[in-house]
Point group: C2
Chain length 393, copies 2
DNA sequence: CCGACTTGCTTCGATGACCGAGGGAAGTCG
DNA sequence: CGACTTCCCTCGGTCATCGAAGCAAGTCGG
């Protein structure tokens, strides 16, 4: 019943490969999946009959018969996506291919509690749904990335330390009820990781995707699958201690947490302490782009701090790539500092073939991840039913 | 073709469940595996016919017919196991059940190079094999744990920084040739992790097993499977920086590595610097048991340092358990300090249901892990052939 | 321009894993 | 002693996948 898992050989996997361009024909799929040609044909036929895949013309010959090109049938099918952070709500509509449409950013306060957030979410997503439908598109589902621990199975928020009232709030079901659409809810870093993995690096098996924005989180792909850990809190590096001498206490009750020295919120606070007006990560980015020395120094130091934590993670987990996403990933000095810290502190063996780069999907990566995941759910739902106790007949 | 993987439903998995006591009858297996009773019966019958499983009497009724008890047919079948560290070679014979027999420890110098090590290994294992055969047992294979990075697929050693001559040495094949037996080679922490997981905690899915001995390493179980990472170096936490002010340079070229402040070698060196004679981890343990204040302080500090690194790992990976193995795990203060550091520095969410304990299999855990893995290989080999290109017929 | 070869895709049994129904064996319990 | 439970096996049936064969539609060298 877990949201994102999919068995390697089949069904949604085929859609995925076609959607992200890894395969454009049946023959491609055969090479990619390692299945028999006959099996792939059957699978494709099912998907075509279900209206999820279309044939669209023929491709270039490679010395023999021309392949019949396959495309995802995104005939106006979209998912709504929402990416939350503590002070903003970004929304958009996501199709099977291409970027996010109709995106919008909207200030609000997550700490005001679940009910106001639910209201704001429902309001904006309803409007978005109406707008999409007016444009002739079908809305298949909703994907939401939440900046805190989420129990993805039950669709509930789990105990964010500084967000009173949120503990065990059933955001997924409440939102689904309000919108009349299936909702997929997960941690923001997890949807980012899924989006980057599936869309930009589908062949990698072990991946760490960091979301550096107002807060800091990460999503972990192990063996090609999202690693949630024992209680779904895997990837939470925001409260790792990086500077025991730091004075700022953290909401978690410790001091020197990564979040208190390297997050967008911390950088903005440090800038304000120097009488430089900065509230959002956008402000920080603007300062850095304008060459503000203080801002650049702080951002670079944040990168070093994040890199110090990631160094442990890279030695321990030995991923094929570390991807930096989130708003701050657009600040070159931060990415460069992360790179430097990793190369300096990790074993050569762990870094010699390690890719370290900014998220390829850019600022909308979170939206894309959430939306695509929701689309995948919607597509896989009718087909890949839950193995146990489902077909009553 | 990877050494330890096994698909969930079948073959070796059944043996595993019976071997570690998770299942004692066909009905148990049905409950454990979730397969149909008929399927389980077929599987068991195959294993019985192959001589790998036996029926042995009947168990207590639970209100109906008595179950026919199953046991692993370890009719004298053993694997030889070797656990290497930089100055010792521990060997023993391991059956499907029970502990290691005929164990022996033998001082030698790994840094002397691969050929002398190969000679020493072959000599002791040949003697052990002869002894086991004289006692009427059949030797099915050999499992070796090596204290450094290993490419498990090719069975070769990978670039240990301070071990000249070892890079890409094909220890597995060379040893197999010398002994005329199939050899399984893996990192020492990995075999320890496999042993502890399969034998003591088979139901856990995410697990970190630390080997604290003369060096420090760890093995990672993710989703019930060993996580080796991109290049097989996952779990290598020995070169994480924990103390930038430390003066001791590390063989890796950095300073303040965990290994230089918290390993058995480092503790022994620190004791010697205070004119307390200590060479091996056994010496350290003796001092701690005798209440030596310096030794106890150093061991406790080592535990804190290890705990500091594990805190990052626990937040990031969110395992269900952290198991401390290796010689130093017998020092209570070290385990206690690790516990303390984890509870202090991790998120409550990551530790509230986290098990932190010493390895249940004790000092022979490494041997057991290596031996059991080799037995499993030997048993699975003829049955669970590699999926592609194997049955020539 | 024409065979020979390549590539793409489909059709059609064969295979094998798994399941479920049915039933027999051997218990417990009232 | 009968009703029910538990354990296990036997026997078709379903389903996914494979491989062989073949057709379709190209390229390419003579």
């Amino acid at each position: 019943m877990t949201a994102f898992d999919e068995q390697p050989g089949s069904a949604a996997h085929v859609l995925e490969l076609v959607a992200n361009g890894s395969a454009t024909s049946r023959a491609d799929l055969v090479r990619e999946l390692g299945l028999a040609a006959s099996t792939v044909s059957v699978r494709v036929q099912e998907l075509v009959e279900a209206g999820l895949l279309t044939e669209s013309g023929e491709g270039a010959s490679r010395g023999g018969r021309r392949p019949r090109l396959l495309r995802v049938a995104d005939q106006g099918a979209v998912a709504l996506a929402a990416d939350l952070d503590s002070h903003h709500m970004r929304t958009g509509a996501v199709g099977h291919t291409g970027g996010a449409h109709d995106t919008d950013e909207h200030a609000f306060d997550l700490t005001a509690g679940p009910e106001p957030t639910l209201d704001a979410l429902a309001e904006r997503l309803s409007a978005l749904a109406a707008h999409q439908r007016a444009a002739g598109r079908t809305v298949r589902g909703v994907g939401v990335g939440f900046p805190g621990p989420v129990d993805a199975d039950s669709g509930r928020i789990v105990a964010p330390s500084r967000m009173p009232g949120w503990h065990l709030f059933p955001l997924r079901d409440r939102l689904a009820e309000r919108l009349g659409l299936p909702v997929l809810l997960d941690n923001d870093a997890n949807v980012l990781a899924l989006g980057e993995h599936r869309a930009a690096h589908p062949s990698l098996r072990h991946l760490v995707v960091v979301k550096a924005g107002r807060g800091i989180g990460s999503g972990v792909i192990s063996g090609g699958r999202l690693h949630r850990g024992a209680r779904g809190s895997a990837g939470d590096i925001s409260h790792v201690r990086v500077d025991a001498t730091a004075e700022h206490p953290c909401s978690c009750g410790n001091i020197g947490c990564l979040e208190t020295v390297a997050s967008g919120a911390a950088i903005a606070a440090a800038l304000r302490a120097r009488d430089i007006p900065a509230e959002s990560t956008a402000d920080i980015l603007r300062l850095v782009e304008n060459g503000d020395a203080h801002a650049t120094t702080l951002v670079r130091q944040a990168g070093r701090d994040i890199g110090a934590v990631l160094a442990v993670v890279v030695n321990f987990f030995n991923p094929e790539a570390v991807i930096i996403g989130g708003a701050l990933s657009r600040a070159e000095p931060l990415v460069a500092a992360v790179r430097g810290a990793l190369y300096e502190r990790c074993l050569p063996m762990a870094t010699s073939e390690l890719t370290i780069s900014a998220a390829r999907c850019g600022p909308a990566a979170g939206l894309l991840g959430a939306g695509r995941a929701a689309l995948r759910e919607a597509a896989a739902g009718p087909q890949t039913a839950c193995p146990p106790t489902r077909n009553g007949k």
